[in-house]
Amino acid sequence: MAANMNPQDTPAIEFEDVVAGYKDFMILNNLSFKVRPGSITLLIGPNGAGKSTVLKTLFGLLKPRGGRITLGGVDITAADPKTLLARGIAFVPQGRNLFGQLTVMQNLELGGITLGMKTARERIPEVLDLFPRVRERSNSQASALSGGEQKQLEIGRALLLRPKVLLIDEPSIGLSPLVVQDVFKLLRKLAAGGTTILMVEQNVKSALKISDDAIALESGRLVLHKPASELLADPHIERLFLGGAIETRAA
């Protein structure tokens, strides 16, 4: 699908020769790729390949040193997170990102701060419906939650925004298998509703099943960009999961 994407379509997200990194250490070197609107694109690669860096750069947390990033054709290269949120992008970073000393409810409300409190409060019950575990704990301090509960809360907090584009970094970390299935199903549903999703996952097998396209990164460069189904059907698929295999294939 991705490979034979219609050239006229405006990509939902486009990286053109993006250079980005931390201070003087450039992780991404002239990275280019496109993401189709309303698709789930899976970003995979070994640890330290630069996957999270891609998402952070896209969301304006790292300023690119070169290249261009566009969102639905609009240049957002230098935009900050606040502007991007206003454009309908939401981001769930890797690791723990809650306000530990505030309650679960307060965390959710802050998640909707760009919506205005009224809208946010209206939408919170919907989100809690998706994650009953979180609902049970809604008055606890966020830091008291278990690892998985915290992750669910974080995902819920981003969904509150009903984003047009969702960037999500390894949602499955810490989630039990049933919840992972639920989350993946949810993402599929969102994509069906027109949301563009760019997801990083190490849980590659299950993630590929719900993805449209897959991008593999290695050392900050793109080593493949294919429809997910092709990858799943690839006879070398098992080898592909063995990280280093990508290297040998590419070489």
Partner: protein, 328 residues
């Protein structure tokens, strides 16, 4: 230590040996004062910079050391008895102060040490029978070494220099042994450290005790240098100044205290040309220095090195990318 550092160390030593011949007594006094504070803040650097224990009570140890020597010498005992006594007493008190540190961490520890400092100061001020109270202790003699009197300012300078070098070398040895890593582990993540067998209790206590002993030794040298002590230099304010010296110099850098103490002791003297405004200029300089180098003066080489390495690494990465010719 690599070759360049050895050369640098020798140059510095030579400069310190030659400098007095170009200085009058005031310059020499200032230099000695600076050395004393290097020794004291090296101890604090161990506690704060390496072991990450927020201590705002270091001046109390400095004072305990000074008073120990002064009181013992007034009682007719030798400086050479007083010095180890000062070190030992501070070590023990430091060990005791370490116990709150086991219960509370971060800012709460800073509060506790600050309280300790106030308490120590109150005793120095109020127990007049022992410490002379606000009248202080006057005419503290300078020691002699192997029959050589250290009364002259040049002799005392050399003595202080020798002591500073000896104790700096000892600390250096300690920090490059596994202890150094254990202290750093304690600073970066005590919970993880404990689960890996690092005796955080022991190392916390020792980081306080050893740091305090260094302050005690410095205090002993201070008492003999000024030849008069009263409670004024041992207030919480002085502890805060010492903390400032460590942070400005570069916490966790071995030579940070050398620069930090220079900022705290020598810089205000340099700035005296600004007349009434000199402390204003000094305060402003500290603020600007922090903004420029939040990790302290000694982070400059690290910064440069990190920048160079980062450039090389990104170059290597982009070269690799070019070699692979982009997409598969």
């Amino acid at each position: 230590m690599n070759k360049r550092n050895v050369v640098l160390a020798f140059l510095a030593l030579a400069a310190l040996l030659v400098a007095p011949h170009f200085l009058k007594s005031y310059g020499l006094y200032l230099l000695t004062y600076w050395l004393v504070f290097i020794l004291a803040t090296m101890g604090l650097n161990l506690t704060v910079g390496y072991a990450g224990q927020k201590s705002l009570g270091h001046a109390a140890f400095f004072g305990i050391g000074a008073y120990t020597v002064a009181i013992m010498m007034k009682a007719g005992l030798s400086f050479w008895l007083g010095l180890p006594a000062a070190a030992l007493l501070c070590f023990l008190v430091g060990l005791a102060l370490g116990f709150p540190a086991l219960r509370v961490q971060t800012i709460y520890l800073a509060f506790a040490t600050l309280g300790f400092n106030t308490a120590a100061w109150l005793v120095m001020r109020n127990e007049e029978w022992l410490t002379g109270g606000t009248f202080g202790i006057n005419n503290i003699a300078r020691p002699s070494l192997f029959g050589m009197s250290l009364d002259g300012s040049l002799a005392y300078y050399h003595f202080t220099l020798g002591m500073t070098i000896i104790f700096a070398a000892l600390l250096w040895g300690l920090l490059r042994s596994p202890w150094g890593k254990a202290f750093t582990a304690l600073r970066d993540n005590p919970i993880r450290a404990e689960s890996l067998g690092v005796d955080i209790r022991g190392y916390t206590l020792l980081s306080f005790a050893i740091g305090a002993a260094y302050a005690g030794i410095a205090g002993a040298l201070f008492a003999s240098l000024v030849q008069f002590i009263d409670p004024a230099p041992f207030t919480v304010g002085s502890s805060i100044m010492m903390y400032l010296m460590v942070v400005v110099g570069g916490p966790g850098y071995f030579l940070g205290p050398v620069l930090g103490a220079a900022v705290g002791v020598v810089l205000p003297e340099w700035l005296r040309f600004a007349q009434a405004w000199y402390l204003f200029v000094f305060g402003t300089a500290v603020v600007l220095l922090m903004i420029w180098l939040p990790d302290g003066l000694l982070s400059i080489p690290d910064r440069l090195r990190a920048r160079r390495e980062a450039r090389e690494a990104s170059a290597a990465r982009s070269a690799a990318a070019a070699r692979h010719g982009g997409n598969a």
